[in-house]
């Protein structure tokens, strides 16, 4: 199973209880990985209210994942 590097920001970091982790997953897309993590950590936000970045670039939820990919789920932003 590929190992994925995950980094968590804002409320996701609080809900996951960590800022980062390396995770082995059998899921093959960013969207499926989010659902797996949502079940594990109880993330409140549905994917439809978020975006996802793979290797520091915005990607669609259908983005396929490979060994070593760096994935960040982007909750609604609140800068400014």
């Amino acid at each position: 199973m590929p190992r994925i590097e995950l980094e968590y920001f804002a409320q996701l970091g609080e809900q996951a209880g960590r800022r980062a982790e390396t995770r082995e997953t059998s899921e093959t897309t960013a969207g499926a990985l989010y659902e797996e993590l949502r079940a594990a950590y109880g993330f409140a936000l549905p994917a439809g209210q978020m975006r996802v970045a793979v290797n520091a670039a915005f990607r669609p939820w259908t983005q396929s994942l490979k060994e070593g990919d760096h994935v960040v789920f982007i909750p609604p932003v609140s800068g400014g």
């Binding site: 804002a10 520091a56 609604p76 932003v77 609140s78 800068g79 400014g80």
Partner: protein
């Protein structure tokens, strides 16, 4: 000239302004965002900003590129802070130099609106009563 900075400590704004001084510019417009002492009726003591820096910088640069294409401006620079900022601290700074004022005002407005809409930065408010909360979004996705 197109610079977007994420800074984890206070930045010398005078130095940023100096980088925008161009002989072909006749107007200069800035926007500053400050930490305000209230939000939604609650007393705020500080705001903590967190950014996914690599993506925040690339998205910020995209915004500045768009602005250079859309508006007749000479130079632009924007800075967003991260970390713990007490009331009164500068959280955002945008400076735009242009041949004429209209484009400078419009470009400045465009940049702050787009930062709020799409740059991966999040704020957590610290309240005077001791509570701490992530702020609900400005926009979705």
């Amino acid at each position: 000239m197109n610079r977007f900075l994420i800074a984890d400590r206070a930045v010398d704004i005078g130095a940023l302004r100096e980088t925008l001084l161009k002989p072909e510019a006749g107007g200069f417009c800035t926007f500053e965002g400050w930490v305000r002492q209230t939000n939604d009726g609650r007393l705020v003591s500080a705001i903590e900003y967190e950014a996914f820096a690599p993506l925040a910088i690339s998205e910020g640069r995209s915004i500045l590129d768009e602005v250079m294409e859309r508006f007749d401006i000479t130079a632009i620079c924007a800075m967003h802070r991260t970390g713990y900022l007490p009331v009164g601290d500068l959280a955002v700074w945008i400076g735009v130099a242009a041949p004429h004022r209209d484009a400078a005002f419009k470009a400045c407005r465009y940049v702050i609106d787009e930062i709020k809409r799409r740059v991966p930065i999040w704020k957590r408010e610290h309240y005077v009563d001791g509570q701490i909360e992530w702020v609900a979004c400005h926009h979705v996705g």
